[in-house]
Symmetry: C3
């Protein structure tokens, strides 16, 4: 029997699946959608499930557009202690694993298409884990955006020093991460981060959903997974990339989705792609080393 | 006796050399300049020759501006079978080498300056192999541009998952490759790909040719080759790059082209650079590993 | 007793420290601020000192806005011989270390924030070492900017083939380095290089100084150093970056600057960050290999 997302007991998020599009809405408007309580764990869980649920083709993360913020970061009114877990402290100085980074990686490793619909202000982890690992970002033109880390005595987290320079280049990444200034989406410092910038808060989610619906119908699940794999793990040289994409072309080009892709294009109609990741991926995937980042406890 | 490009028997392209500029024109307008028949092999051959012909300083690839498209990709009206060669199939699943990728690498490895004059619509391999490996791209403002792979059940090829993120950053590369949407050159999603965007189709080639003529006169062949080498193979760290560019500066700065470059600059005249790659390169070049990507046959 | 920058005997630059901001002004207006005489050595020295002087939080490099140029590159009126040192020539062809690259690395490795205020024309090393290794670049809209290397018979130096593609992506880096054309800051080919573009020459330094003063008060020295470290040495994979930024978060999040950062944010006042690099860095920093690029003499 198919999984019902409403049965998972989420509190910090609401998750609904409809025709291949899984919409995840932050449900902490009263807390300015701060990154706390069960939110990180629920995000990790929902993206992990979305990765493995063949019915899901696109995941959209958004907030209520009437909330005070899309995500105002971590709540630091009581200092930084909430970042650390007592059981990690017992294990020594290298045991800590940043919660934002754990969410980042759950989203980044999801083999389905992911869209962030940023319909409000965003700060700190609301800029990093909640935006950078996504495939596409939509944003409200009036949003105040800030990576405030150097102004708070800490460092950018959630793998943002890896992701932001890759997304925008180091000129813009340096400007944003090393100044900690607040910018709006139309600033040339950050505009390239966004697939689309919408004038009104209430327009952001519908625009993201329209792309999501298009992609849920018109893209192949297996094409998306292999393309994301090639973008994240292209090989070290152009020759290695050529060998990898040749192998993928051979594999996918001989499959049912490719046949349907060519036929539906010829017949000028929407495709009905039959292949799914659970049945039609190959032993060759993933071709990169998957790394376990968990801390290995020193004592039994 | 010098090679005559008209003697090479090309059918899918026309190649003409004039004062250091080799113009290669796609000659398949009736087939919408699709990537088929002898086109891939002829492109590989002409860029390989251009790489080694000292007379060539710049290569411009273009199409007739009255053609239905600059290049509308592969012809998939009969499915994807045309991608695969029977002799490769006999060799097993890892034998295939993507034809687009082979063209990409011939262009990318050409040590001369390369310009794509995209004076029409472009799709699929018309966006990848026919544009991404070039040093400069000119485009018609009205061109419809699309990387449709995820909508056809296959994956981006021709080393595009290596090249496009390097050219534009991952934010734009993800938007283009993972959505498969059609964009125009002025879209912020793709505009950074182009050196210049021209309002009329007929303006694209003349603009590209004007830059080509300027560069053919005013750039040093050996400077170009070493600069391309440094850009493609910069070393793994800033320290390694410093050691590489120091060695190149020592080598080139002691040469005739550098002496002429300084003198002509002082005398405010065009330079006449005497050095050529066949005579004046060094045993040190290339400093990177050259990789053989051919499939090694399993049986004799 | 604290170091007095006016006691260092600089001739080619003027260095003044005021409230955490070290302003370095090029002092060779009569020589068009060419990169010669003692200028390279003095720049290396002042950035090396700034790196280690706890009082310095931000370094601003600028020129007199009435000078003929911000920096017109190397003076090649007598050819390229000035690039090479006789003692290096005795050591053989691999002994040369590019002077521009040595300056680049002194600036790049400085753990404090660095700003270039480019209030005039810039060419050659005036574009490379004098701009690319900085964290932020401000520029006058009317500046003529050029990387002329391929037009002079040499290659781009000062680690520019490493830095420029990282800053802007390869599409723009190729356009600039392989054409050698002169552009203005508002050209789409180069505009992403600049944090801010100012209409008048005399506005450039004040704008840069305003950001410098903001950053000197409101950023943590140790946050800046670790963030620069993470941006320059993010690890090879997202997993490695996650482990690195987790460790930094653990270290910094437990420190005094982080406590003050959270408290001052809560109290809506400017922070007073107490931590300094000389006292509060950790044995773990740097986590990357530091490489010695000096030539090792072959003979005693």
């Amino acid at each position: 029997m198919a999984l019902d997302y409403s049965s998972l007991g989420f509190k910090a998020i609401i998750a609904k699946l409809d025709n291949g599009v899984l919409v995840v809405t932050l449900n902490r408007a009263k807390q300015r959608n701060t990154f706390g309580d069960t939110l990180p764990a629920e995000l990790i869980q929902v993206f992990d499930i979305a990765d493995r649920d063949d019915r899901v083709r696109v995941v959209v993360l958004t907030a209520e557009h009437t909330a005070p913020a899309f995500c105002s970061g971590a709540d630091i009114s009581k200092g930084w202690g909430m970042l650390f877990r007592p059981e990690e402290d017992l294990e020594g100085e290298t045991a800590h694993r940043d919660g934002g980074g754990q969410v980042t990686m759950a989203i980044y490793k999801c083999r389905k298409l992911t869209i962030a619909a940023v319909n409000g202000h965003a700060a700190g982890v609301g800029m990093t884990a909640m935006q950078l690992p996504f495939d596409f970002r939509f944003v409200w033109e009036g949003a105040k955006l800030v990576f405030p880390f150097v102004r708070r005595g800490i460092n950018p987290e959630a793998a943002s020093t890896y992701l932001l320079p890759r997304l925008l280049g180091h000129s813009r990444a340096n400007s944003l991460l090393l100044s900690g200034i607040t910018v709006s989406p139309t600033s040339p410092l950050i505009s390239n981060l966004y697939h689309e910038i919408l004038p009104r808060r209430e327009d952001v989610f519908p625009a993201a959903l329209a792309l999501a619906k298009d992609l849920a119908i018109n893209t192949s699940q297996i094409s998306v997974a292999y393309t994301k794999g090639l973008l994240q793990h292209p090989g070290d040289t152009i020759e290695e990339n050529h060998i990898l994409d040749s192998r993928a072309i051979k594999l996918l080009g001989s499959g049912k989705d490719a046949a349907e892709g060519a036929l539906s294009f010829k017949e000028r109609r929407n495709p009905k792609f039959p292949d799914t990741l659970s049945k039609n991926s190959s032993p060759w995937y993933p071709w990169w080393r998957t790394v376990d980042v968990k801390h290995h406890k020193a004592k039994l």
